[in-house]
């Protein structure tokens, strides 16, 4: 089975394509002379399904990279980004930015604390200055700045 594991990607694409075709059909295809909103999506979803179907058989397994221990790290990195977005919305920019930079500088860049902490704090403050003061981007209310 594991030998065929790489076919998972085309399979997912194929299923996605078929689902998209069904959805597009529900939007009404119309006629060629009066195309409905679903016609074009239906055409491209068909192309997607067709190519994915072909890939099920002709794809080259060597294209697929093995999963490594680093992959777990990626999941962690993604989680940190997700938490950043949620916190950003709730408590503003500064604290989530410092935390995210700390996580990335410590875990992925493996900087020592004496570099990671100042870099994270200075980085976050610099971003705040550039984006909010410089470019006037309205960040969500910040609990640090009491906005």
């Amino acid at each position: 089975m594991s030998k065929h594991l790489y076919r998972l990607a085309p399979l997912v694409l194929l299923l996605f394509g078929i689902a998209a075709m069904l959805q597009a059909r529900d939007l009404s295809l119309g006629e060629l002379s009066a195309p409905g909103p679903g016609l074009w999506p239906f055409i491209v979803a068909s192309l997607l399904s067709l190519t994915a179907f072909v890939l099920l058989f002709v794809d080259d397994p060597a294209d697929y990279e093995p999963w490594t221990r680093g992959t777990a790290g990626i999941a962690l990195g993604l989680l940190s980004l997700g938490i950043f977005i949620v916190l950003f919305q709730e408590i503003g920019f500064l604290i989530p930015a410092v935390l995210m930079l700390l996580v990335w500088l410590r875990l992925f860049a493996q900087e020592p604390w004496r570099w990671a902490v100042p870099l994270a704090v200075l980085g976050a403050v610099a971003f705040q200055l550039v984006f909010v003061e410089g470019l006037g981007v309205p960040f969500p209310d910040d609990i640090v700045l009491g906005g």
């Binding site: 009066a34 979803a45 190519t51 080259d60 980004l81 997700g82 919305q89």
Partner: protein, 548 residues
Amino acid sequence: MGIADGLGEGFSVALDPTNILYVFIGVLIGTVIGVLPGLGPTATIALLLPLTYELEPVTSVILLAGIYYGSMYGGTITSVLLQLPGEAASVVTTFDGYQMAKQGRAGPALGIAAVGSFIGGTLAVVGLILLAPPLADLAVEFGAQEYVALTAFGILLVTYLGTKHPVKALCMAALGLFLATIGQDAITGTGRFTFDQVELFDGLDFVAVAMGLFGVGEILYNLEKTEKAEQIKSRIKNIWPTRKDFRDSSGAIARGSVLGFFLGVLPGGGGVISSLASYGMEKRRAKDPSRFGKGAIEGVAGPETANNASSTSAFVPLLTLGIPPNVVLALIYGALLINGVQVGPQLIDTNPEIFWGVIASMFIGNLMLLALNIPLVGVFVQLLRVRAGILAAFALLITMVGVFSVNNDVFDMWVVLVFGVLGWLMKKTGFEPGPLVLAFVLGAILETNFRRAMLTSDGQFDTFFTRPLSGTIFGLMALVIVYSTVMGIRRQRSGRPPALYADQLDAAAPHETVPGSESEGTAGVAATDGGNRDGPPPAGGGSTRAEP
């Protein structure tokens, strides 16, 4: 407007202090990211897209174009000194450039590359000036059928040329076209695939998609690679090439300019293919081809000239037809669209300041690059000390904050994250994000014109084939498909890699390993290694691997 008037207006735009500043920033950033492995022009331009909301349209294109051709210069530096191409088009430079560096001739290699790039870039600007206006005049006659044909042709060529696996690329292009349909239907107003989410009603934001796929996807992908600090061993001296060096490489520079210009105009062309083609040409023409791969200066001068010429001439189809020929240009196209500029044949007339201003800024930018590169190579090399992890952390934060600033909407941050994961998965599974983004950008044009053509022709499908212009283009498309299929089958029979240009690369590559590097997104075949795999670790995101 004549060429002289146009250029006059162009220079008055480009010499505006703000624009001078931004062309400088652009070429500087371009050089820097060209030097830094792991962050290529595509990722950088994607990351900087939100900035273009703050700028005038012409200024933002000047900036992004500067990054693009600047990165072509920067990529050379690491190719020569470390055999690490900072961006894909410099892969070819490693063949002879690194050998020159080993022989203590790193200086002349970098010098001739800078001079060649300058000449190639400048000549391509001249070509752009001469070719673009008549092409735009012709394109004004285009109807919906022609646009369908051209857009489809562009997508097709990008998926066929320079990608390792055309079917996979086509699959991604289809996905891109599909994603472009999300949101309100422009003609009937029906919400499509929005699942009643208000945020999806305007469709997926192009900036968020591009930043996710190229920016975050790239960074995540590189995280898995073990990075180690590189040591520069060769000392750089005597940057300015000798008279003999100039004599040896003058032919290569001249041929590289012409070759690069024409390959850059073609959809799917661009830096990688031009530099490969130039290397192949020089090697074939050489009296003693065995010198290639052992430090022949023509092997540096030709390809470097060609890739710069092509990065300039790639603007021809964008500025005249509104069709971006590769992914970097698709991003620049997106930047113009979000600024409300209609890109197409009418651009030269309606927005002459953009057309001529960008052209004039290219003259200035190339001059700046020459001035920056010759004396400052040593400084740029120091950049390699910046660790990739630190860069990644800050780049991510820029991405997140940047995409928020576009619509002040947290939803876009989630879109970036989702497309980041998608981009990373695509790299892991050998699907290239380039065709997806290109198709995503062109999706709306393609659909609108397709429906318009259907409406006006009363549903007659043959309207695409009976009109002379669109018929010719579709004929060409059929030719490309047949040709590449036949070639693919023949290659498979003879047991060679099934990608276009893989042969040339195999022939061109000496026994040294060519590590993967960040490509323009369309150029998957770029870093096919010539055989063994025990060289330095891959430089950047390696959508560009191929089996030996």
